[in-house]
């Protein structure tokens, strides 16, 4: 009896990768999954932190998808390696700071290294021709296969009939006529297939699992680079960009203002890395000072802005504590800034 072929699938947690694996499993292939953690993933962080999203299931969708499929999932931290993709994308950015083509090529390359190390036969992705403007086009999908080094070991089951035959087909591990011919941005075929397979609960049917595709997030990332000595980032940097309201009144400091209790609690965890501020006379947010005040005017302006976001925004005065990284605290009393005095340009 010939050996069972083995494949590894890129699992994002969305519908396409779920279906792609199912299509291949039905052909008798043994499948395991890989999920790459870049730090820019939408799911997880904000859902976990924000109290007002408590009605949403607090689960990692990639893990959940893998369990639905009955496969093992390997979650791999690529935060450090991924920086080069974000900072120096060979194929450039999409509409925002999303280096989609480089990103997909990098992930397929990592998956290819994984199958070589673990003696698997091919790689599966949930890509669909014409679904994404950058990485999922007829002319760019071959670029991913070529530049990743995966070549014809890359199988895209959802649109495989529209692409040249892969090694898996040539070797008879899978049958071409059992692959699909989905194309374009219409999600109806995927939703219909999910129904046929009995999948009723799945995440993000329209895709989009990366903060780098988000206009507001990209703006904050660009601001971070413009105000740092080097164009770089840490994991904490990119997580903090997802949290709170960011206001930059001066080039040399910005305020990160918690928007609700969950974010306040999360930001409090950074009190040893940043000066933090909170109102003592009224209920209000926890605020981090990113950068430094050069004089008393900077401090007063900041405190008046913060006071605006407390329950005392209409009060004559609000008292606030400013606590430095070492825990030294000082109390100040200010009048809240009027809303129209917080300049639109300050908001990131």
């Amino acid at each position: 009896m010939s050996k069972q072929p083995k494949a590894v699938a890129l699992i994002s947690g969305g519908l396409d990768s779920l279906l792609a694996v199912k299509v291949i499993q039905e052909q008798g292939v043994y499948v395991e999954g890989i999920n790459f953690f870049t730090g820019f993933c939408v799911e997880g962080h904000t859902h976990a932190v924000r109290k007002k999203q408590q009605n949403k299931p607090k689960r990692n969708n990639a893990l959940w998808v893998a369990e639905q499929l009955g496969i093992k999932l390997h979650i791999i931290d690529i935060v450090e390696e991924y920086k080069d993709i974000v900072l120096n994308p060979k194929h450039g950015y999409g509409a925002n700071m999303n280096p989609c083509l480089d990103c997909k090529g990098f992930m397929v390359k990592k998956a290819t290294e994984w199958i070589e190390a673990h003696h698997f036969d091919f790689v599966i992705t949930g890509e669909v021709v014409g679904q994404r403007p950058m990485s999922q086009r007829h002319d760019t999908m071959p670029v991913i296969a070529a530049e990743s080094g995966c070549g014809e070991r890359l199988v895209r089951p959802l649109c495989g009939q529209l692409l040249p035959p892969t090694l898996a087909e040539k070797e008879g591990w899978i049958q071409r006529d059992k692959l699909l011919s989905f194309s374009g941005r219409n999600r109806t075929p995927q939703i219909r297939l999910a129904k046929r397979y009995g999948f009723v609960d799945y995440a993000q049917p329209a895709g989009g699992c990366c903060f780098l595709t988000d206009q507001n997030y990209s703006k904050k990332l660009l601001d971070l680079w413009q105000h740092r000595p080097t164009r770089n980032y840490t994991l904490d940097d990119i997580i903090l960009l997802k949290m709170g309201r960011h206001i930059r009144p001066k080039p040399y400091f910005k305020l990160i203002i918690g928007r609700e209790e969950g974010e306040n609690n999360f930001l409090r965890g950074y009190r040893k890395e940043f000066t933090h501020i909170y109102a003592t006379s009224h209920t209000g947010p926890l605020v981090l000072l990113d950068g430094k005040w050069l004089n008393d005017e900077d401090r007063t302006l900041s405190l008046r802005i913060i006071a605006r976001y407390t329950q005392g925004k209409n009060a004559d005065t609000v008292s606030l504590d400013v606590v430095d990284k070492n825990g030294n605290s000082q109390t100040f009393t200010v009048s809240p800034l009027q809303a129209n005095n917080i300049l639109h340009d300050w908001y990131l």
Binding site: F37, C41, G44, A48, K58, L63, A66, E67, N265
Partner: protein
């Protein structure tokens, strides 16, 4: 042998990644207590354990911290 992993302040999937990496260094029968603050771990770590054949012995929550004790099975 009992081990402990501090995953406080880490948001999912990082606690799962750290758990996965730590368990890769342990032996069958070892116990690993993972201490976390992200409530998502109450779903994610048990799912990861189920798919990898490890057993959850205990999940406790107190003062915003979640402690999950895992019995390591079939170590690599």
């Amino acid at each position: 042998m009992k081990h402990q992993l501090n995953a406080r302040r880490l948001l999912c999937p990082l606690p799962v990644i750290r758990t996965q990496d730590k368990i890769a260094t342990l032996k069958t029968g070892d116990l690993l207590e993972v201490i976390c603050t992200d409530p998502g771990v109450k779903s994610d770590i048990p799912v990861w354990c189920r798919m990898n054949g490890h057993q959850i012995q205990n999940i406790q929550e107190q003062d915003g911290e979640i402690s999950i004790t895992i019995s390591v099975q079939n170590s690599p």
